[in-house]
């Protein structure tokens, strides 16, 4: 029973959405919007699940004093601090009637003073690591690596004045070799072809996985109960 009911729900919903897609008339057409609302409502509950899971993992780590458990104290403390700041509307000038992100609120202060600079710092560090990795990885060791190297070179030079001055003198018949033109070509021809191939592959994979789910062949989403 535990397996049959979820499988039947999956089959019915999957079938209903296929029907809604191919018969764009009332009442089938409305099914799509209706199920989307259901999905949005369920998505909100995912936050509770996510918060619960975060606490479970980190409290377990702290309790058993596993590797780097001290960082978990920071995570859990941060979680409760931000949650309390938002839920209790600490520091909101208008009290309970004001927005939790209102100027002067603790939530806004925490966001602006910690979350924002921390995220920006983490992302900024990429510039340093990308530079170091490019230097070590972009070596023309094989034909494939050479193609990658040349493509990277063109794209990297694209916004720079050097990219312009290196090739601006080329005569009209060779204008396609001008670096800005070459970079546009790299992005809109080989890149696009590759992206399309990947997208078509993914789409076919989604279709086959969806069919397996609807027909009850794929049951891993049921967890251990599905076995």
């Amino acid at each position: 029973m535990k397996r049959t009911i979820p499988l039947l729900i999956t089959f019915a919903v999957g079938l209903a959405l296929i029907v809604a897609m191919f018969i764009p008339h009332v009442p089938f057409y409305e099914l799509d919007g209706m199920f989307s609302v259901f999905y949005d409502v369920i998505a909100v509950f995912a936050f509770i699940l996510g918060g619960g899971n975060l606490l479970k993992v980190h409290l377990n780590k702290i309790q058993n004093k596993r590797r780097d458990w001290k960082y978990s104290i920071v995570t859990v403390s941060g979680f409760f601090l931000v949650l309390a700041a938002g839920l209790l509307k600490i520091g909101v000038p208008d009290g309970w009637s004001g927005g939790y992100q209102a100027p002067g609120s603790l939530f806004k202060f925490l966001y602006d003073a910690t979350f924002q600079p921390l995220q920006a710092t983490m992302f900024s560090l990429l510039a340093f690591f990308v530079a170091s990795a490019s230097y070590r990885a972009f070596r023309a060791k094989t034909k494939e690596a050479t193609i990658l190297l040349v493509a990277a070179f063109i794209i990297l030079l694209r916004p720079t004045p050097l990219g312009y001055y290196l090739t601006y003198w080329l005569p009209e018949p060779l204008r396609f070799l001008h670096i800005p033109n070459l970079s546009t070509w790299v992005l809109s021809v080989p890149n696009m072809a590759g992206q399309r191939a990947i997208m078509i592959g993914i789409a076919l994979g989604i279709v086959s996985t969806s069919l397996r789910l609807i027909l009850g062949i794929e049951r891993s989403y049921l967890g251990s109960e599905g076995k």
Binding site: G33, Y39, P117, A120, F128, A131, F153, P159, T160, N191
Partner: protein, 301 residues
């Protein structure tokens, strides 16, 4: 004597080899230092570079330019603080253009971190440069809703099913500009500013394509190649990273010279990016030269 000459030659080769080897494996701290300088110096000396507008960006600019005044433009903030340097100049340039043309601006977010970025836009641009634009009549902040692409799907069939109030909890029925908004198809243009999932791609797949709504936007540079398959049939145009934003600023200043002083956020940020790229290119060249020298030496001996 001959033996001494031979020894000297060998030592010379060893010295050369050592230099080549050193250049082939530069300490990462030196790379970090040079990248740091390449970023810092252009910021200090305020180095800027003109970035002419590419057709990809110009198409989107022309689309906003050609919409009749009063057109409804939905702008979604689907990014967080980490990509503010790339995405925020796009939002700023779009907002200036939208208000300049007299369109109505609807702000929303698919990311929980999005509303804070739109609030920054309100504080820095709308309140300062367009104080005459009235909330609820010319622009509105609808805030964030969960659901990712599912939310877009719902908005496509019934906008008010998800957005019953604005960000502050006021009923949307109280705002004149919300009259006539039943679904996403009532918008004249959707601008998705994204840096991941869900983002501009999802706006194309779940709103633009099924609803036949013009979609444009901007993404971080690493996300931009993913949008090329949709251009130009499914996406009007898009801004790829900081360069795309700088290109849009260039187009805006060209059309409206009064923004010459103000609209420089992306252009000034391009300086550090340009120099950082040049440093990376220089290191790639050095790395490959030393690689070929070492390889030819290995073949020889």
């Amino acid at each position: 004597m001959a033996e001494a000459e031979k020894t000297e030659k060998t030592e010379g080769t060893e010295k050369k080899g050592t230099f080549v080897e050193k250049m082939g494996s530069v300490d990462r701290r030196i790379i970090f230092l040079l990248i740091g300088l390449a970023v810092l110096i252009p910021i200090i000396i305020e180095y800027t570079t003109a970035i002419p507008t590419s057709p990809l960006v110009q198409n989107l600019f022309d689309k906003i330019e050609s919409l009749p005044p009063g057109s409804k433009v939905l702008m979604s903030f689907d990014y967080g603080p980490s990509t503010v340097p790339e995405n925020q100049p796009m939002a700023t340039a779009f907002t200036r253009h939208i208000f300049e043309k007299g369109h109505k601006l609807y702000l929303m977010a698919l990311w929980a971190t999005g509303p804070r970025q739109s609030e920054a836009l309100i504080e820095d641009v709308i309140s300062v440069e367009f104080p005459d634009k009235k909330y609820g009549e010319d622009w509105i902040h609808l805030g964030y809703k969960a659901g990712n692409q599912g939310l877009i799907n719902t908005l496509l069939s019934d906008f008010t099913a998800m957005y019953t109030t604005d960000l502050d909890g006021t009923s949307i029925d109280e705002f004149p500009m919300m009259k006539g908004i039943g679904s996403l198809t009532d918008f004249d243009l959707i601008l998705g500013l994204g840096s991941g999932f869900p983002g501009t791609k999802e706006w194309v797949q779940f709103a633009g394509d099924p609803g036949d709504i013009p979609v444009g936007g901007g993404t971080t540079a690493v996300m931009a190649p993913l949008l090329f398959p949709y251009y130009p049939r499914q996406i009007v145009g898009f801004l790829g990273g900081l360069q795309g934003a700088a290109e849009y600023e260039y187009a805006l200043i060209k059309q409206y010279p009064k923004y010459e002083e103000k609209s420089r956020l992306a252009s000034t940020s391009m300086g550090p990016q340009v120099w950082a790229h040049l440093v990376i290119v220089a290191f790639i060249i050095v790395g490959n030269i030393t690689f070929f020298i070492e390889r030819s030496r290995r073949k020889r001996y």
